[in-house]
Symmetry: C2
Subunit: 308 residues, 2 copies
Amino acid sequence: MAITVVGSVAYDSIETPSGRRERCLGGAATHFALAASFFTDVRVIAVVGEDFGPEQEAVFAARNIDTRGIERAPGKSFFWEGSYLDNLNEAKTHQTDLNVFATFEPKIPEAYRDSEYLFLANIDPALQRRVREAMPDVRLVAGDTMNYWIKDHRAALLEVLKGLDILLINDTEARMLAGNNNLVQAARAVMAMGPGTLVVKHGEYGATLFHKSTQEGGSTERTFRAPALPLEAVMDPTGAGDSFAGGFFGYLASQRNLSSAVYRRAMFYGSVMGSFAVERFGTERIQALSRKEIDGRFELFRELTHLD
Amino acid sequence: MAITVVGSVAYDSIETPSGRRERCLGGAATHFALAASFFTDVRVIAVVGEDFGPEQEAVFAARNIDTRGIERAPGKSFFWEGSYLDNLNEAKTHQTDLNVFATFEPKIPEAYRDSEYLFLANIDPALQRRVREAMPDVRLVAGDTMNYWIKDHRAALLEVLKGLDILLINDTEARMLAGNNNLVQAARAVMAMGPGTLVVKHGEYGATLFHKSTQEGGSTERTFRAPALPLEAVMDPTGAGDSFAGGFFGYLASQRNLSSAVYRRAMFYGSVMGSFAVERFGTERIQALSRKEIDGRFELFRELTHLD
């Protein structure tokens, strides 16, 4: 079933211990869409500037991603510059130019209206909310956010959370959002804000799924931990979280019955896509990926955690 | 099969967000021995002062731990004072008094000589080495260490590592020991120093096993990740790592065939014992524990990671 994703399509200049890339294709919606496209149809809502050309367009086209919702506006695309020189787990932002995103008004193409899955990537919660309200009939809505919105746009964010089925955030964000340093207590507090399912990402240590299941007769609470693959070479962590979200939500959208087992497998597919994303700069690795490689790595993850 | 453990038996004064305890029974050998005693016979080599009385003795006796190797010396027992007020993952040390440990000369009781398993808890590598050399015929030797020895007693520590089958350390220590920030590369470098098996503990995120197996026809390298249980209340993290080691090594010592599957289950038993240890101050929770509770929590861990 098709996913519509709204979020940034951008240029990133990135420096890591492995090197530097200038203005490579990035943005949360880009990373999410590429990862999810291995599992289901994906449609993007975003805005780009006049610097977005056929070369970037071709990256989406190669994965059959619907870009009719990517608006072209006068000016430059969103630009981010950051580095991970001291710590691969934490980006240091050097520059953020919103550019055309500063006045973005999301428009939903008619052809997107039958999407059953909606992903609100990390953007201004006011925009997330507008898209959510414009697509009231979707089957499942997931979203992401970041410390900036949690701190300075809390009221707007809380409104968005009410309309989410699934929230994917990292440890620090979960603790900040809940105002509680204990992960389990923080998860419970965040889930009381709306989302019945919470995925907390722990970077190189994996992710935890907190899940209220009503699918298996009665309401039960489940917790599931998926590891991250210990990787010998992490070239660029940019987009790892969005690629995780794309694998996770893409796999869910490809399944008819959303059982707990399907959620658990979705956590593994999220980890698989995150592990590929960091192996090269920007979108390089995911662009060159095959479904066979994905399935192979899924089995690696299974071995990594298989007890008996 | 019996384990002999050498390490500290001490008094700890501990402050955490949950409260404060003065001079409770602690020390690496204590936490290790208590946890391992649920799986196999345990014998302790340590030194205590005149402040070690029948009440402390009774804690070991209640778990049938052999204390004939705990020497009584004139003076006071090892004392540590620390707090975890800002961060439950990292102790802030306020005071360390070696006391009788400053002149400790480990002596191995005749009755310990047939131990097939040896655990060198975190103490001066010079002492670890002497005990290792005095027990050349053990089947399996595991050990622990800490940043202080890695930084300031590297040569002595490297000698110890040559005689270890298994090293259990945390992330920071593994990276420091290897001089490499990538976990996989660091693990390979540490294993080249001696231990064929390395367990890297990630605190609240679990632990990773790097394991060269020669048991299953040829030499294969395996990696296994065990999660930690997301806990709603962590009262006192002191001794969590030693309790992990006790569960891990105690379970190994209880098994005849050390297959990869047995190592993986040992990782879970380590996580189980670590998860109990932090629920109360000092040794309180492990003292009150039953084998039935251990098995129950093992199943919780299985659910937490079970994919299908």
